[in-house]
Symmetry: C2
Subunit: 436 residues, 2 copies
């Protein structure tokens, strides 16, 4: 058996600590599976004193991650510090620049600098693996990179942020407000003190940018993504979705269109009987539509120390077995710039909830504006409820419209006209329906 | 770029033809993804005249698969003939014996001779890849072999036979009999003229034997599997399952127990809100419970030319990229013999449907027999229906029992006693409940 593969781990949070423990616990199985022992020999973290529940006594300790990355006595540098900038960036550059393979769970770094780092890794014949960066334990990177190497992709979409899915699940199941569920998520540690990165969809967008590159052979480009978060979702939307046979999920969607690659993150109505609609709580899921495969869905834990560590460890295992795959599935110089399909050209069905003034002619006025944009309606529900009871607004009734396939542009123009007509109060709520 | 990888394909049914077409269609993407062109150079099939919808004119034609397997001008032998015996077996042996890598979709061959063929491939440094043998396009072999290389597995279970799932789905959704749905499945080409291999669970067992080996590091051993098919499932069971919050699926289950590895194939009640319960029609799914991952579920097409071909092509792609993984995840000499957990020791909840004689004391007699075996009941439902209307039997009422966790042995003894007591008519229906 060849020499052990020597691993240096930078970042000893829950994932790093779980990884060190898992490598020790699986020592023999890993050696059998990879043909080579895997050993953590050095670590880097801020506090040496902190008890992390794993034995670190025999490991060399670095306070500078770049020094660990350059250390001649490691073969693989594992980056679990996070963040798009330094020290993660300079440490990964130092490692691949020295021909060392790198495993990282850092979606932000990959979304920002992925292609440049991939080129550097390819130049130095180093692996750059990042299964844990998207979907936690779900092996979606390997599936796109290797398991579907012979497929042409039509669409990839997923629930990529556990915080948002947890909030939407609680709102739906317990009929609670967004604010109440967010507060609970924060109390339970599922949401950050500043939750905007998650709930405004930016975390999902970073992950989607990586998946789109793997599926479509394009350069990672987060700026090409249209992003909308979940903070405007109201219990009324979830109740209406339920009645109509849908659930609301925050999806990241990348799809081939005649205009180019459409990439978008927004709350989405998905059919209740689809695999992805069953995904509750902090669980993640990814669905792929490809040639001959309609669809393939992978569901699993998107976060958590042990789950994320298992993805990191699989990446290390591939390196131990000598596998070197181009980080984004193709050599970085073969990845094309994204031809971005503009969001205004998005085609699909729409859910629209309006608070209409309860007076004669309102419904006709709304219907006329939609017809002007050639939007056909699959259903229209107007509920006459007791006055002064609807959202506290006197003299208004909720109207829920479901459109047949139309364009984003048409919907926006129609709703701008409806708003100008002063037949509704407040902002129209719009949720796109994803065919699945 | 290195020379093209030259592929010989034996078997030109729907999968083989789709594969030839897909390799041609994806020529450039494959070369970019694999660092090497992939070319089909020779094929073998019975009829040269048949129109298969793909261009075979430039390919060399073999009538003997063993001759193709030995041909010096191919690098990879793709076996798509099927069957546990010859010619598939001798052709695969010839190929790996000559140091050629093999890709096969042949579950029967692997279930019977997998370990021996793996040892032969390892000896000759050839790859033996078989993603398509289990779950069609679902990348479950790669996930177990590589994507979860650092995990310790607790349980793996799945819907592995599209025919059975199609029949159960139709029975449930349209309240039809087993016989009627089987007939339809045959008419639509989802079931064979002799359907027993599928409906009696043997197809599922072959696939489960392969998955269990990959997950638990054991030798493939189909004989260690307890097998029960779906032909006894009645619409009454599906209706009762629905009321109780379950669906009935034919599952293959392999799990670690204190007694060893339990491997079983049988109709199973799964919670309606689980990912696997949503899997309808001919779709397949596999769920894995492993350290830190509870659970990971993969759902996708289990059959079909294009879907199966895409799995075969991913295997070929790995070979093109130079990847050589031990076929069953570990060197074949490190695979242990299965320590078989006896089915009598199986623990879990049970659904029991009895046709009880409608006279005083019956319920007490049944309850006593269950209590004697220390079986606790979660629920008992006895429906008094109009006489002569229940299954055409006069003076009997259906009784449905749900037990708390107990053992197979206890249930069998209790039901034997109930039968001896002559308080029921017909055979008791028993369906195991899978915790998920």
């Amino acid at each position: 058996m060849p020499d052990a593969l020597k691993v240096g781990v930078a970042g000893l949070g829950t994932v790093g600590a779980a990884l060190v423990g898992q490598i020790a616990a699986q020592r023999e199985a890993l050696a059998a599976r990879c043909g080579r022992r895997i050993e953590v020999v050095a670590v880097c973290a801020r506090s040496k004193a902190k008890n992390r529940g794993v034995d670190l006594k025999k490991l060399r300790w670095f306070s500078d991650p770049v020094a660990l990355a350059r250390d001649a006595r490691i073969d693989v540098f594992v980056e679990l510090m996070g963040g798009a900038g330094d020290p993660a960036k300079s440490a990964v550059e130092a490692a691949v620049g020295a021909g060392k393979s790198v495993v990282t769970a850092n979606k932000a770094l990959l979304a920002r600098h992925g292609i440049r780092l991939a080129a550097l890794a390819e130049k130095h014949h180093a692996a750059l693996n990042f299964e844990a960066a998207v979907g936690g334990a779900i092996p979606i990177v390997k599936t796109l990179r290797e398991g579907m190497a012979g497929n042409s992709f039509e669409r990839i979409y997923g629930i990529l942020n556990g915080t948002c899915n947890y909030i939407l699940t609680r709102m739906e199941q317990e009929k609670l407000s967004f604010a109440a569920c967010l507060k609970d998520a924060q109390r339970l540690g599922y949401a950050e003190a500043d939750p905007s990165f998650d709930i405004e969809g930016h975390d999902t967008a970073q992950k989607l940018a990586i998946l789109a590159s793997l599926a479509f052979g394009t350069k990672v480009d987060q700026s090409a993504i249209y992003v909308e978060g979940i903070s405007s979702i109201a219990p009324a939307d979830l109740a209406a979705a339920d009645e109509l046979g849908y659930r609301v999920k925050l999806l990241g969607v990348a799809m081939k269109t005649p205009q180019g690659i459409e990439q978008r993150v927004h709350p989405t109505m998905v059919r209740k009987d689809s695999s992805i609609a069953q995904v509750m709580g902090v669980t993640n899921a990814v669905t792929v539509d490809a040639s001959g495969i309609n669809p393939l869905t992978l569901v699993g834990p998107g976060a958590g120390g042990a789950a994320t560590a298992s993805a990191v460890l699989a990446d290390i295992g591939d390196i131990a077995r000598g596998v070197r795959t181009a980080p984004f599935g193709r050599p970085s110089d073969k990845l094309k710039a994204v031809r971005k399909a503009p969001m205004q050209r998005h085609e699909g069905g729409y859910y629209i909830r309006l608070q209409a003034r309860d007076r004669p002619g309102t419904a006709a006025a709304i219907a006329t504006r939609l017809a002007e944009q050639e939007i056909s309606l699959e259903s229209i529900v107007q509920r006459h409820v007791e006055k002064n009871r609807v959202d506290g607004k006197a003299g208004s009734v909720p109207v829920i419209l479901i459109t047949y396939a139309t364009t984003e542009d048409a919907v926006r123009r129609a709703l701008a006209a409806v708003t100008r007509d002063r037949v509704i109060s407040g902002r129209p709520q719009v949720i796109r329906i994803e065919k699945n």
